[in-house]
C-alpha cells in the first residue's frame, strides 16, 4: 500500500531525529525512577496497555477467533459490521473480518517487531564497533552500510524478497536487512557522542578495560535513543510490510496481514467501506500507540525530563 517514496521518506524522517534523541548520561541507579516517570506519562502508559492487549489478542487468535479466517461464505460477502454471527462483518470472500483481523495481527506484529529487534541488535553492534574502533574498521563498516543505504528501501526489500521464496519470513528478512543501516548510523553517531563525554574519559583514566568501557559505559548511553527510534519504526514497518505483501512478496493467501486486508478491501471502498476502514483503523491505532510509547520512553529515559 505504501508507495516506495513515502516509505523511504518516512524512515528518512525518523533518521533525522538522531539528534533529538540525544544520548543520556547513564546513571548508576534510578531505574525505578524511569519506570515511575513512564507510568506518569498517561498517553504512553495507555499506549503500552493497548499494545499489550493487541499482542495478547493476536497471540490468542486461535482461541478468540469465532471462525477459521480462511473459511468463506459466498452467500454472505461484504456483510456490514453488526451482522448476526459476524461482529465486524465479512470481507470480499465472505470471510469473518474479526477472525481475519486477529490472525492478521500475528503477521503484522511479527513483521513490525521482529525485524526492528533484530536490526536494532545488529545495528547497535555495528554502530558501537564503528564508533569505538574508528579508523579502517569504521570506514569499512560505514561504507558497506552506505551501499545498502544507497538503494531505495522498498526496492531493496523487493530485490531481496525476489531472490528468496515469497513468504512472511522473507518479508522479515528483507525488512531487517533494509533497516540495519538506519539503526547502524544512529548507533554510531550516539556512540561517538557518548564516547567523547568526560565520564568515559574518567572511566578510562580509572583503568577500565576496553570491553568494560564499551559494555558498562558506552552501551547504556547509546541504548535510549536507539530504543526510542526502534519503537517509532515498528508502526512504520507494519505499513512497509503491508506494501511488500501487496506486491506479492510477503504473506501468502489465504493468510493475510492488516495491510493486505486494506489493499484487498480498497477495490470496493464505496460499497463495503468496512473491509478497508477496519484494518486501516487498527494499523493507525497500533502505529500511533508505538509512537506514543516511543515518546514516553524518550521522556522517561531523558535525564533532563526526569528531573521534572
Amino acid at each position: 500500500m505504501v508507495p516506495p517514496d513515502t516509505a523511504h521518506a518516512g524512515v528518512g524522517e525518523g533518521e533525522r531525529s538522531d539528534g533529538v534523541g540525544a544520548p543520556a548520561i547513564p546513571p548508576a541507579s534510578g531505574r525505578r525512577w524511569r519506570i515511575a516517570a513512564f507510568a506518569r506519562d498517561r498517553a504512553a502508559f495507555a499506549a503500552a496497555l493497548f499494545l499489550v492487549l493487541v499482542a495478547g489478542a493476536a497471540l490468542l487468535a486461535p482461541l478468540l477467533s469465532p471462525y477459521d479466517p480462511a473459511a468463506a461464505d459466498n452467500l454472505l460477502r461484504y456483510a456490514p459490521p453488526g451482522t448476526a454471527g459476524h461482529l465486524l462483518g465479512t470481507d470480499a470472500q465472505g470471510r469473518d473480518m474479526l477472525s481475519r483481523l486477529l490472525w492478521g495481527g500475528r503477521v503484522s506484529l511479527v513483521v513490525g517487531i521482529v525485524p526492528v529487534m533484530v536490526a536494532s541488535a545488529t545495528g547497535l553492534a555495528l554502530g558501537l564497533l564503528a564508533g569505538t574502533a574508528g579508523g579502517w574498521t569504521d570506514q569499512v563498516i560505514m561504507r558497506l552500510l552506505d551501499v545498502v543505504f544507497a538503494f531505495p528501501m522498498v526496492l531493496l526489500a523487493i530485490a531481496i524478497a525476489g531472490v528468496l521464496r515469497p513468504g512472511v519470513w522473507t518479508e522479515v528478512i528483507s525488512i531487517t536487512v533494509v533497516l540495519i543501516p538506519y539503526v547502524g548510523r544512529l548507533a554510531r553517531t550516539a556512540t561517538l557522542l557518548v564516547a567523547s563525554m568526560p565520564f568515559i574519559e574518567a572511566a578510562r583514566a580509572a583503568g577500565a578495560t576496553r570491553t568494560a568501557l564499551l559494555l558498562r559505559y558506552v552501551t547504556p548511553g547509546v541504548l535510549p535513543p536507539l530504543l526510542v527510534y526502534a519503537t517509532t519504526l515498528v508502526g512504520l514497518m507494519i505499513v512497509v510490510g503491508s506494501g511488500l505483501s501487496f506486491l506479492g512478496l510477503g504473506v501468502q493467501p489465504p493468510a493475510s496481514d492488516w495491510g493486505a486486508m486494506v489493499s484487498e478491501g480498497r477495490i470496493v471502498l464505496r460499497r463495503a467501506p468496512h473491509a478497508t476502514v477496519l484494518p486501516g483503523i487498527v494499523i493507525v491505532a497500533v502505529s500511533l500507540a508505538f509512537s506514543f510509547l516511543g515518546d514516553g520512553l524518550r521522556d522517561a529515559l531523558d535525564p533532563r525530563s526526569r528531573r521534572r
Binding site: 468463506a72 470480499a92 512478496l249 480498497r266 477495490i267
Partner: protein
C-alpha cells in the same frame, strides 16, 4: 448518503428519457460531436504499433493506425472479428498458399500528408522484417515476429500493388499478424524519418480515423477526429485515454462523470453501477481464457487421473457466478472463444468433488498431497485463486499459493515451472485458433515458448500443424476441435473461466461496440 444520491440520479434519468422522446428525428449522421474519456487500468508504454506486445497499446493504436488487412471491430455479435480490407483494397492468395498479392487502396494519405502507396508498404516491411535494409528496426522485428517469421520475400509490382511471399503456407497468417505481438500496421515513413525509430513511440502517425494530438505520460493521451479519413469518419471530436490504475478510482471517476467509460471495473461494483444507471457492455466471445497449467514434470501430475481429478474438483460455475458476477463464463477447453473454431457446447469435466476424490485415491493419493501454485499479484485479493485453493482443500489437496509481482511472475511463467511448482496460471488467448500452438505444442515448451507446464503430445502437434495448412475454414475448425478434445482428455490444463470483458459506460455514450477482441473501434462512438 445513499438516499440523497438517489434523487438527483432519478431526475437525471428522467431528463434523459424525456430528451430521448423529444428528439427522435435527430439523424445519427448529423454531426455528432463530443469527447470520450476512457479510464484505463494501465498506461500504455509506447504508441509504436510495431514495437509493443500489449493490449493497452492496441486500444490506442487501433484508432490511429491500419494494416493491409484489418479486423472489423464494429460487430459485437459475431464469433470472431471479420477480416476485412484495410489499406489493401483487396488481396489474392496463390493456390499453393505462398503468395499474397495486395492491391492497395488509392487516395489514402497519412496524417502528416505523406501519400500511402507501395513505397510506404515496402518501407514498413523493411522496418519490421528486412534485416538487410537500413530501415530495419530490430525492436519492431522482435515484436512483429509472429507475422514476420513467415515472410520469405516482399516485392513491389507497381505503385499500388505489392506481393508478399511466405516460407510455408499458413492460412492464419494475416490474422496472426493482428494478434497480440507487434502488429504490422502502416506507419508514415516520413514520420519515422523525422522522429527516428524510437520517436514513433511518442509521434504515432498513421492513416486511421483518429489522429494523435498530445500525450502526457501517466496522465492522458489525446486523439482527435481525422477529417480526411478515407472510410466512415469518426463521430467523436476527441478521445482521451486516462490511465487510472486503481480500480476504486476508476469507479469513482465514472460515477463523478470525470470519465465516460472504464475497462475492468471491479466485479463487485458492476451491479451497483448498473443500478445507478450506468451501462454494462460485455461480449461472450472475447478471445481470452483464464486457465491453469499443470506441471507435467512433477510426479503427481504425470498421472492423468490426478490431472482429471483436479479438473473435476474446481467449481467453475460457482466462480463465474459468485466472483465474476455473471461477467465470466465457465470454460472447459483450451480454445480461445473469439475464434470460429470455438465450440460453446464443449464440456470436458463437470464439477464433481466426490469423483475427484475417488480418482485421487485410485492414483495412490487417498490422503491428498501438497502442491505449490504460483500466481501473479494483480491487486484483486486473489479471489479466484483462494476459491480454487478452498475447492482443492475439500478433496484433500493442500495448495500453497505463492504470489509474485507481475513482471517477476511473467518471467517465471515464461521460463517454465520449476520442479517444485505444481501449477501456475495466466489469462490469455487470441482471435486465431492457432494460438493453441504457442501454449500446447512440444516445440513451444518453456523456455522456448509459452508451454509453461511442458505438455507434449505428438498427436496434438500433428493435428495443429495440419490445421495451419488447411485452407478450408470448416476443415481447419474440425482439426482444432479434435486437438482440443485430446488436450482436455489428457487434462494437461485446467481451464477456469472466460472473461466477458465488462466495460462500464456512462448513459451518455452511444454506439459503443464490444467486439470479440481485446481492443475496440471507437469511430462508431458518440457522446452527448
Amino acid at each position: 448518503m445513499g438516499h440523497r444520491m438517489a434523487v438527483p440520479l432519478l431526475i437525471r434519468v428522467a431528463i434523459g428519457a424525456a430528451l430521448a422522446i423529444i428528439q427522435p428525428t435527430a439523424t445519427p449522421q448529423a454531426q455528432a460531436a463530443g469527447t470520450l474519456i476512457w479510464g484505463m487500468p494501465s498506461e500504455t508504454d509506447t504508441m509504436d504499433p510495431h514495437a509493443t506486445g500489449g493490449w493497452t497499446t492496441y486500444q490506442i493504436t487501433y484508432q490511429i493506425f491500419e494494416g493491409l488487412a484489418k479486423e472489423d471491430l464494429t460487430k459485437g455479435d459475431v464469433p470472431t472479428p471479420p477480416l476485412v480490407p484495410g489499406l489493401a483494397a483487396s488481396w489474392e492468395i496463390s493456390p499453393d498458399g505462398l503468395q499474397y498479392t495486395f492491391k492497395l487502396r488509392p487516395g489514402v494519405t497519412f496524417h502528416d500528408g505523406t501519400p500511402f502507396d507501395a513505397a510506404a508498404v515496402k518501407f514498413n516491411f523493411e522496418r519490421f522484417w528486412d534485416k538487410s535494409s537500413p530501415n530495419y528496426y530490430p525492436k519492431a522485428a522482435s515484436f512483429v515476429v509472429a507475422y514476420a517469421k513467415w515472410i520469405k520475400g516482399m516485392e513491389v509490382l507497381d505503385p499500388m500493388t505489392v506481393r508478399v511471399i511466405l516460407t510455408a503456407p499458413n492460412y492464419e497468417w494475416l490474422r496472426q499478424g493482428l494478434q497480440s505481438y507487434g502488429q504490422p500496421l502502416m506507419v508514415s515513413p516520413a514520420a519515422v524519418k523525422a522522429y527516428g525509430n524510437e520517436g514513433i513511440a511518442l509521434h504515432p502517425i498513421g492513416t486511421g480515423p483518429f489522429r494523435f494530438v498530445e500525450r502526457q505520460q501517466g496522465v492522458r493521451t489525446v486523439l482527435e477526429r481525422n477529417p480526411d479519413y478515407w472510410g466512415r469518419k469518426a463521430q467523436l471530436d476527441r478521445v482521451i485515454f486516462r490511465p487510472l490504475q486503481d480500480p476504486a478510482t476508476r469507479v469513482n471517476a465514472l460515477s463523478n462523470g470525470e470519465v465516460q467509460m472504464i475497462s475492468t471495473p471491479p466485479w463487485d461494483e458492476i451491479q451497483g453501477l448498473v443500478d445507478d444507471g450506468f451501462k454494462l457492455s460485455t461480449n461472450p466471445n472475447v478471445p481470452y481464457i483464464n486457465y491453469l497449467y499443470l506441471n507435467m514434470k512433477q510426479d503427481v501430475f504425470k498421472d492423468v487421473r490426478v490431472r482429471r481429478a483436479v479438473n473435476m474438483a474446481i467449481d467453475r460455475e460457482g466462480i463465474a457466478r459468485e466472483i465474476y458476477r455473471k461477467t465470466g463464463r465457465p470454460e472447459f477447453g483450451l480454445l480461445s472463444p473469439g475464434t470460429d473454431a470455438y465450440d460453446p457446447g464443449f464440456r470436458s469435466y463437470k464439477y464433481d468433488p466426490d469423483a475427484a476424490k475417488k480418482l485421487f485415491a485410485e492414483a495412490g493419493y487417498p490422503n491428498g498431497f501438497k502442491v505449490v501454485f504460483e500466481i501473479p499479484q494483480v491487486g484483486t485479493g486473489e479471489l479466484v485463486e483462494s476459491w480454487i485453493q478452498r475447492d482443492l482443500k475439500k478433496v484433500g489437496i493442500d495448495v500453497e499459493l505463492r504470489k509474485f509481482e507481475w513482471v517477476t511472475y511473467m518471467g517465471r511463467w515464461a521460463g517454465g515451472m520449476g520442479q517444485d511448482i505444481g501449477m501456475n496460471e495466466i489469462g490469455w488467448g487470441m482471435s486465431t485458433p492457432a494460438w493453441i500452438n504457442i501454449v500446447a505444442r512440444c516445440d513451444t515448451m518453456a523456455p522456448d515458448g509459452q508451454n509453461s507446464g511442458y505438455y507434449c503430445n505428438k498427436e496434438v502437434d500433428a493435428l495443429l500443424s495440419q490445421a495451419l495448412t488447411t485452407r478450408d475454414p470448416a476443415a481447419a475448425k474440425a482439426l482444432y476441435q479434435k486437438a482440443n478434445r485430446i488436450i482436455m482428455d489428457d487434462a494437461a490444463y485446467v481451464p477456469i473461466v472466460d472473461d466477458l470483458q465488462p466495460i462500464m459506460l456512462s448513459p451518455k455514450v452511444h454506439g459503443f461496440v464490444n467486439p470479440p477482441e481485446d481492443w475496440f473501434d471507437l469511430s462508431t462512438v458518440s457522446v452527448d
